[in-house]
């Protein structure tokens, strides 16, 4: 795996982003809008799908892997594996549905649990469907104070109008990149510690 990976992405950095959130909040819509500039009206629950795109991040060409996940699942543990594989997370809820906002806390806890060994996980709280202002249930202040509490950024988006769609992905990638760089520095400082993870990191950058 490591070898093939090294061959593959020879020079391009790869950032793995996971879309997290309750069902129907617009994770797939955000992803498709970001990937293909299209907005699909009809709702069809996602199981899981993976996307890859080359983008230019602050002048540097990188690749982004997006894992779009299912919102409705009977067993949270099933998510463990892909949470594990992610490097950054878009924690999405719909501003028109308060429950979906409440659910973000659970998702966050699971992410923290699964990636317990990492200090700070790149994560953005995303309030989607900002075009449906008249049906808003989650006040901006509430979402923002929650995000502040967690020490992360809060952004409102609309997959329909493409408002802030690029921003959330790019901001997240920047956080991921910053984290990777600081870890590299750490690694250079003290080579001991999490062998497996540093191995993985190096592979990515080959």
């Amino acid at each position: 795996m490591a070898a093939s990976k090294g061959k593959n992405q020879s020079s391009l950095a790869l950032h793995k982003v996971i879309m997290v959130g309750s069902g129907g909040v617009g994770k797939s819509a955000l992803t498709l809008q970001f990937m293909y500039d299209e907005f699909v009206e009809d709702y069809e629950p996602t199981k899981a799908d993976s996307y890859r795109k080359k983008v230019v991040l602050d002048g540097e060409e990188v690749q982004i892997d997006i894992l779009d996940t299912a919102g409705q699942e009977d067993y949270a543990a099933i998510r463990d594996n892909y949470f594990r594989s992610g490097e950054g997370f878009l924690l999405v809820f719909s501003i028109t549905e308060h429950e979906s906002f409440t659910a973000t806390a659970e998702f966050r806890e699971q992410i923290l649990r699964v990636k317990a060994e990492e200090d700070k996980i790149p994560l953005l709280v995303v309030g989607n469907k900002s075009d449906l202002e008249e049906r808003r249930q989650v006040p901006v202040e509430e979402a923002r104070s929650k995000a502040e509490e967690w020490g992360v950024q809060y952004v409102e988006t609309s997959a329909k109008t493409r408002a802030n769609v690029d921003k959330v992905f790019f901001d997240l990638m920047r956080e991921i990149r910053a984290k990777k760089m600081s870890e590299n520095k750490d690694k250079n400082g003290k080579k001991s510690g999490k062998n497996k993870k540093s191995f993985k990191e190096r592979c990515c950058l080959l």
């Binding site: 890859r52 892997d65 099933i78």
Partner: protein, 926 residues
């Protein structure tokens, strides 16, 4: 008439005791002889009888004979025949109809009116008076129109008015359309009455005696007081006076006889005078006759003089015409003979002279003019001059051509570094000065003109061939040079096979990297990313060079064509045809047909043909050179065909827009065919490569190289064909390619050994789907959906297939159970089957304690990880599905146990929570 009346009264009627009142001279209708008289008579004895008597006058002497008599009471109708016009005919209807013609209309009227009066007086019987005109107008303050009950009544009334006027007013009243007889006759009759006294008729006329007449009579009677007392004396006196008057009358008649004699004499004298005047007149006439003869002679001679004058004028105008038109100025002759053909002034002088000469020679001579010796001589002189000048001009121009050819080639060296073609503009400008002379030459000496044309083509084609060859040489060097640079960057030099630099680069990259892996196809596409980036740079550069070549060639051709048409005078109606074709062009769009050229008149098309032929000769090297260049481009990279196709199409399109029949558009059109062929070859090559692709048996398959190549091709093609005219070609190619890709993926999937078929299908179709979603190629929408379908299908079948393994025996067991149920065994009774009793179930379940299951899942995860390639990043997706599926299976088993082995208390050795824990731990360990 009165005499006749008198005679008739005396001879016929008096003896018969009848009194004649009115008489009319008639003849029977249709007969000429007027010897009958119709008489209206009354009997003198009472009761009064009124008769109409026809009296015939015997042929010899004044002898009258009473013929027929009718009683008035037998008269039924009096028909006057015509109410409007006066005519003498009238009918009397007695026992039968008698038609009469009176000697005059007046007589007729009088007679009829008499009859009417008689009828009025004696009979009061209804007699129809037909066709008499009873209408009359009275003009007082205005015109009153009346219609009387009969014409006689009208006449009576009118005559009464007249009489009244005569008697009392003597005023002028116009009696229009009233017969004069009617008016005049009534006068004497009135006097007669008064004289005749107690006559029967006087009673009739008595009404007409009015107050004044009475007065007159009274005055007269008072004049002789004794009148009443002594009537006799009065009568005597009256007769005496009458005699005196008669005497006076006779005397005056006698006295007038003398006067008559004098008058007769005067008349005789007048006749003599007339004779004299006639004699004089005839003598004058004779004199006039002679004068006329003289005049005739004079006018004839005048005519002759005029004729000779006009002849002279005509002759003069003819001579003037000849002299004016056939005289060539000395300056012109000199210019033609030795004018300077190098300086622009000299050329102008020559042009003018040539024009003048041509005019002189082309004078429309009237028949007969050429018989004149002087004209012949002059013509001979002109044609000599023409010969001479044509020769001089031709040789001069020839030398100019040669000179220009040399000049141009000497400057050629400067251009060799840059990719530009030398400019012929100054050369054209110089030569265009001669354009008029060329036209002259064309019109006068076509042989020389043709010779010049041929020479021009020879020199120029050689010159252009050199230039164009050099130009293409530079272009080729630039093309190959850039690609070499590109290759130097990536790897080492030498260009690869014809299959295109991408694959050759890939192969080289494998060699140079010296990787332990063998040269496998999966590696080809790994190099792709970096290689294609380089290619894009190369290709845009190639695109630029190619574009430059075309855009250099185009103005060169156009300028030359323009020059040729101007210089050799082949341009007459070009702009007209140009506009018409433009219009059709817009309708046709990209579909360039040439059929509409046939619509242009023959002469123009022949001139266009001429231009095209010349252009073809002059630029004969363009087409092969372009084809060489294209072949080279294709050799460097087959994807260059895409660029070339788009560029070429565009240039052909614009060229044909300007003029579809021009040399440029036909040439470019021909080359376009080659380019299109290369494009097709490029597509078919790709398809062939797919067909021939072999995959390693040892390594995993991953994304197939041709799938990645298709992505690259499509991305490139989309960027090139963005707004191009040839979109249709590309769409066709797409469909062919994607079909081939689909087929090849399935083929490889079926052949694959290391990697399961489902994985190959799933990963590749996922990739194709992503590609198509990204590029949004509208014509491949259906294929996009198909790819998505195939991807999900094979994902599912892969998951199901793979999950059979970790709980293999359990799976088998429950499959068996389900089979029994399907055969009709009730679920509760399955446990009584030997192979599926509780014992067996326990045995199978025992084989899968939690630890085993965890191990199985672990292995499965590793295997999946091994099967899948990193690129498509489907591990998480697949694993997610597997977890789902596994839990679903577990629940399914539990359900079966609960239903088929109720109350047995048998459970699985592990719980869902266990499974979730296993999953979490697998997650943690990777």
């Amino acid at each position: 008439m009165t005499a006749i009346k008198h005679a008739l009264q005396r001879d016929i009627f008096t003896p018969n005791d009848e009194r004649l009142l009115s008489i009319v001279n008639v003849c029977k209708a249709g007969k000429k002889k007027r010897n009958c008289f119709l008489c209206a008579t009354v009997t003198t004895e009472r009761p009064v009888q009124v008769n109409v008597v026809k009296v015939k006058k015997s042929d010899k002497g004044d002898f009258y004979k009473r013929q027929t008599a009718w009683a008035l009471r037998d008269l039924a109708v009096v028909d006057a025949k015509d109410a409007v016009k006066e005519n003498p005919e009238f009918d009397l209807h007695f026992d039968k109809v008698y038609k009469w013609v009176a000697s005059s209309a007046v007589e007729k009227n009088t007679f009829i009116s008499c009859i009417w009066k008689l009828n009025q007086r004696y009979l009061r019987k209804k007699i129809d008076f037909i066709n008499e005109n009873p209408e009359f107008d009275l003009h007082f303050d205005k015109v009153y129109k009346w219609v009387a009950s009969s014409a006689v009544e009208k006449n009576t009334f009118i005559s009464c008015i007249w009489k009244l006027n005569q008697r009392y007013l003597r005023k002028k009243i116009d009696f229009i359309n009233v017969s004069s007889q009617l008016l005049e006759e009534s006068v004497p009759s009135g006097e007669n009455q008064s004289v005749a006294g107690g006559d029967e008729e006087a009673v009739d006329e008595y009404q007409e005696l009015n107050a004044r007449e009475e007065q007159d009579i009274e005055i007269m009677m008072e004049g002789c007081e004794y009148a009443i007392a002594n009537a006799e004396a009065f009568a005597e006196k009256l007769s005496r006076e009458l005699q005196v008057l008669d005497g006076a009358n006779i005397q005056s008649i006698m006295a007038s006889e003398k006067q008559v004699n004098i008058l007769m004499k005067l008349l005789d004298e007048a006749l003599k005078e007339v004779d004299q005047i006639e004699i004089k007149l005839s003598s004058y006439e004779e004199m006039l006759q002679s004068v006329k003869e003289q005049m005739d002679q004079i006018s004839e001679s005048n005519h002759l003089i005029h004729l000779s004058y006009t002849n002279n004028v005509k002759l003069q105008s003819e001579i003037e015409f000849l002299v004016n038109h056939m005289d060539l100025a000395k300056g012109h002759i000199k210019a033609l003979q030795e004018g300077d053909l190098t300086s622009s002034r000299g050329i102008e002088a020559c042009t003018n002279a040539a024009d003048a000469l041509l005019q002189c020679m082309n004078v429309a001579l009237r028949p007969g003019h050429d018989m004149l010796h002087a004209v012949k001589q002059q013509q001979q002189r002109f044609s000599d001059l023409r010969e001479q000048f044509a020769r001089r001009l031709a040789s001069h121009l020839n030398s100019v051509f040669v000179q220009q050819g040399h000049d141009q080639s000497s400057t050629l060296a400067q251009h060799s570094v840059e990719l530009t073609l030398p400019n012929h503009h100054p050369f054209h400008r110089d030569l265009l000065r001669y354009a008029k002379l060329m036209e002259w030459l064309k019109n006068t000496d076509y042989g020389k003109y043709e010779g010049l044309t041929k020479n021009y083509m020879d020199y120029l084609s050689r010159l252009y061939e050199r230039e164009i060859k050099d130009f293409f040489e530079v272009a080729k060097i630039k093309m190959t040079g850039t690609t070499k640079e590109g290759k130097k960057f990536g790897l080492h030099g030498s260009s690869g096979k014809l299959t295109g630099s991408t694959s050759s680069l890939n192969k080289l990259s494998v060699q140079s990297s010296g990787n332990r892996r063998s040269q496998s196809s999966s590696l080809l596409d790994m190099g792709n990313m970096s290689a294609s980036d380089l290619d894009v740079a190369d290709r845009t550069k190639f695109d630029k060079i190619f574009e430059q070549v075309l855009s250099e060639l185009e103005p060169l051709c156009l300028a030359e064509q323009d020059f040729i048409s101007k210089f050799f005078k082949l341009q007459q109606h070009q702009n007209i045809s140009g506009t018409t074709t433009n219009e059709t062009e817009e309708i046709d769009g990209g579909n360039l047909s040439r059929s509409y050229i046939s619509g242009v008149p023959q002469t123009i098309s022949s001139e266009k043909d001429m231009i095209r032929q010349m252009m073809t000769k002059i630029f004969r090297c363009i087409e092969p050179e372009l084809n060489n260049l294209i072949a080279l481009g294709d050799k460097i990279d087959s994807f260059n065909s895409l660029y070339m196709l788009v560029k070429m199409s565009h240039h052909v399109w614009t060229a044909q827009n300007v003029d579809p029949a021009s040399f440029l558009s036909t040439t470019l059109g021909n080359v376009l065919v080659t380019v299109k062929r290369n494009f097709d070859k490029c597509i078919s090559n790709q398809m062939k490569q797919m067909d021939e692709v072999k995959i390693s048996k040892k390594s995993k398959v991953g994304i197939l190289p041709f799938v990645a190549e298709f992505e690259e091709f499509a991305a490139l093609a989309e960027s090139i064909f963005k707004n191009a005219e040839r979109r249709g070609d590309l769409d066709k190619a797409y469909i062919k390619l994607i079909r081939a890709v689909f087929i090849s993926v399935e083929k490889v999937a079926n052949e694959s050994q290391k990697t399961p078929r489902d994985v190959v299908m799933m990963e590749n179709f996922h990739h194709i789907f992503a590609t198509l979603s990204r590029l949004k190629i509208s014509c491949l929408e259906a294929e996009k959906k198909e790819a998505k379908l195939k991807y999900t299908e094979h994902l599912q079948s892969y998951v199901v297939y793979s999950l059979g393994q970790p709980l293999e025996k359990l799976n088998h067991f429950f499959e068996g159970v389900e089979a029994r149920v399907a055969q009709g065994i009730r679920e509760e009774e399955v446990s009584y089957q030997l192979a599926f009793n509780k014992q067996e179930l326990r045995k199978v379940i025992k084989e899968y304690p939690g630890k085993e299951v965890k191990k199985g899942l672990d292995n499965l995860y590793k295997k999946v990880d091994k099967h899948l390639c990193e690129e498509e990043n489907l591990l998480q997706v697949v694993w997610h599905s597997m977890q789902d599926e596994f839990i679903r299976q577990y629940k399914h088993f539990e359900g079966l146990i609960a239903r088929c082995y109720p109350g047995s208390g048998i459970t699985m050795e592990f719980t869902i929570q266990d499974i979730l824990d296993y999953c979490s731990s697998i997650a943690q360990s990777h």
